[in-house]
């Protein structure tokens, strides 16, 4: 009999987080070697549809816990339930998207099961029968490989966009097993009393394209052309710390060592010099474009394509060219 892989399916307000599907994709790959089933763990309230979605994305089996105590992610009930399921079913591996919630859940479960959790993996491969994880360290200046030699299950959180999202197949069949939560509401210390959603726009960590502005945009209004470009591309807006510290744009948009780590297909840096701490957050982007009037700016070392010039001329020109080409 093969060895199973658990994948935690994260949801917010009933919608799945993309990194969970990427994790299912990664699990399918690993299961070719391990030979067991891919088991999705779907916890929430009124999330029956997510179980079907998980199967379409590649799960063989779904553990579905549908309960008001699980409506919002909270580490206590979620970790207790995932650890309980893991004890009962003894999976070889647990994969979790390395989102805010996933980065809490993985290590919490690791403590409960006295096992290892490798954070923020960008690759997972079998080498001589050992599962080896690659992860960036020192702000991406170095890479490391890690294994979990003895303890089981081996837990890995996987960096968003590091693994391909599978194409869903509505025709796939799978088994759905209903499970009960472990904790009752009165046993859970944390109470969620409010939520203020960040207004509009695409989330940075999920975005396939990011357009970022730095000190070079000169002021809060300098983000207007950046936003217009982002809009035609369906992109998220990012920023350097200099722009955030100046108060031109909220911290939520900051990319870099003390901001978000992103890995989009396309990153367009406008008026950003490319300090090492900014690079830390975006260097793994697939294609990087820099628009900067200083030909010596370090960002041109990292970028694939560069335009040396005034962003206030080139960014609107790019927006216009894209509108024409993309027919918008």
């Amino acid at each position: 009999m093969g060895k199973d892989i658990f994948v935690w399916v994260e949801q917010f307000h009933g919608q799945a987080a993309i990194p969970s599907w990427e994790a299912i994709g990664a699990a399918r790959q690993l299961s070719e070697t391990l030979g067991g089933q891919v088991c999705a763990c779907v916890f929430g309230e009124n999330v029956g549809d997510l179980a079907k979605e998980a199967i379409a994305y590649g799960a063989d089996k779904v553990f579905l816990a549908d309960d008001p105590t699980l409506a919002d992610f909270r580490v206590e009930p979620y970790a207790a339930l995932l650890a309980h399921l893991a004890k009962e079913h003894q999976p070889e591996v647990i994969l979790i998207g390395a989102t805010s919630r996933g980065r809490d859940l993985g290590p919490a479960v690791a403590v409960d099961l006295e096992t290892g959790c490798v954070a923020d993996c960008t690759a997972l491969e079998f080498e001589d029968g050992k599962l080896v994880a690659t992860r960036p360290i020192y702000a991406g200046k170095l890479l490391s490989t890690c294994t979990i030699p003895e303890r089981r299950p081996a837990i890995f959180t996987v960096r968003p966009r590091a693994f391909a999202k599978p194409d869903p197949d509505e025709g796939r069949q799978g088994e759905v097993v209903s499970v009960e939560p472990v904790l009752k509401e009165e046993e859970i210390a944390c109470k969620v009393t409010g939520f203020e959603e960040t207004e509009g726009g695409v989330s940075l960590t999920d975005a396939a394209i990011i357009v970022s502005g730095g000190r070079g945009v000169g002021g809060p209004e300098g983000f207007e052309p950046i936003r217009e470009l982002a809009e035609v591309l369906g992109a998220a807006v990012g920023a350097s710390r200099a722009a955030v510290d100046a108060g031109w744009i909220p911290y939520e948009h900051q990319v870099g060592q003390t901001g978000k780590t992103v890995s989009p297909d396309l990153y367009i840096a406008c008026g950003i010099s490319g300090a090492i701490q900014h690079q830390a957050g975006m260097r793994t982007s697939k294609v990087i474009v820099a628009i900067n009037k200083d030909p010596e700016a370090p960002i041109f070392q990292l970028a694939h394509y560069g335009i040396v010039g005034d962003l206030f001329k080139y960014v609107p020109a790019l927006t216009k060219a894209l509108k024409e080409r993309l027919g918008k």
Partner: protein, 267 residues
């Protein structure tokens, strides 16, 4: 009220790093500093102390060898009351599972802790796992990604915080004792004052060993770890820098760039 801040030392974030064949990382003559993320935790602890008229005691702890003193000293210079280094040769090669066990043991020994503050992650290993693991081990309310302490009710023994998640800010109320994982934006860390630096230089930094805090040897260090680091290496370098797009007008440059990006299939 007793507040503990957990911190560690790291090489400066601007350091040029090299790795040798054996995987040893070196940062040349770049200084060892307090993990930059931890300054937010230290600052928040001091702000709480100030808000309650200096009544809460702020202890800063670090599990680490001699160099860990750099982090403790910086925290004392900013305004923490006491610094304790937790170290034993048996703690070497601890992953986060083992580190969190040792830190939890040290906090348990103090006995009277209401809040434990952490940075978001260590800029060297960047796992971000220790805060939640310590919370889980101690059974303290697990509050990570905290960008604002909305209310700290010492009498009622509750804390309300705003947590920064992907989709926005979540407000959570939880009982004390609690673990608070801080993020940038929660405050603006102060620079140590001259007086503070003097105090930090003169302060005593007791060392707690495994025996002092009742650590079971097979739960710390490599024996207590789940994760093993195999190799450390520089990322593959990209040759040559950017292809600079030359054109007579911005419009033409834009058209050329769009062609390239379409050929790359990223738009």
């Amino acid at each position: 009220m007793h507040i503990v801040v957990c911190t560690k030392q790291t090489p400066d974030s601007a350091a040029k790093l090299t790795v040798d064949e054996a995987g040893n990382v070196s940062w040349g003559d770049s200084p060892i500093i307090i993990n930059p993320w931890d300054e937010y935790a230290v600052e928040e602890a001091i702000l709480i102390k100030e808000r309650f008229n200096g009544e809460p005691k702020v202890t800063v702890i670090s599990m680490g060898p001699e160099e860990a003193l750099e982090a403790l000293k910086h925290a004392i210079a900013m305004g923490c009351d006491e610094g304790i280094r937790v170290w034993d040769e048996a703690f070497e090669n601890s992953d986060t599972l083992a580190t969190s066990y040792v830190l939890a043991k040290a906090i348990e020994k103090m006995g009277d802790v209401d809040l434990v503050l952490f940075g978001k992650s260590a800029i060297d290993s960047q796992t971000g796992q220790v805060p939640i693991e310590v919370a889980r081990r101690l059974g303290f309310s697990p509050l990570t990604y905290v960008i604002k302490i909305v209310e700290l009710d010492i009498e009622g023994r509750t804390i309300t915080v705003e947590r920064l998640l992907e989709q926005g800010r979540q407000v959570v109320k939880a009982p004390l004792p609690a673990v608070i994982g801080t993020v940038k934006g929660i405050n603006e860390p102060r620079y140590p004052s001259f007086m503070g630096i003097r105090k930090a230089t003169r302060a005593q930094y007791p060392v707690w060993t495994g025996a002092d805090i009742g650590v079971e040897p097979d739960k710390a260090g490599a024996a207590g770890s789940g994760v093993r680091w195999e190799r450390i290496f520089p990322p593959p370098v990209r040759e040559g820098g950017a292809e600079i797009i030359e054109a007579d007008t911005p419009e033409e440059a834009a058209r050329i760039l769009v062609d390239k990006l379409m050929a790359e299939k990223v738009i």
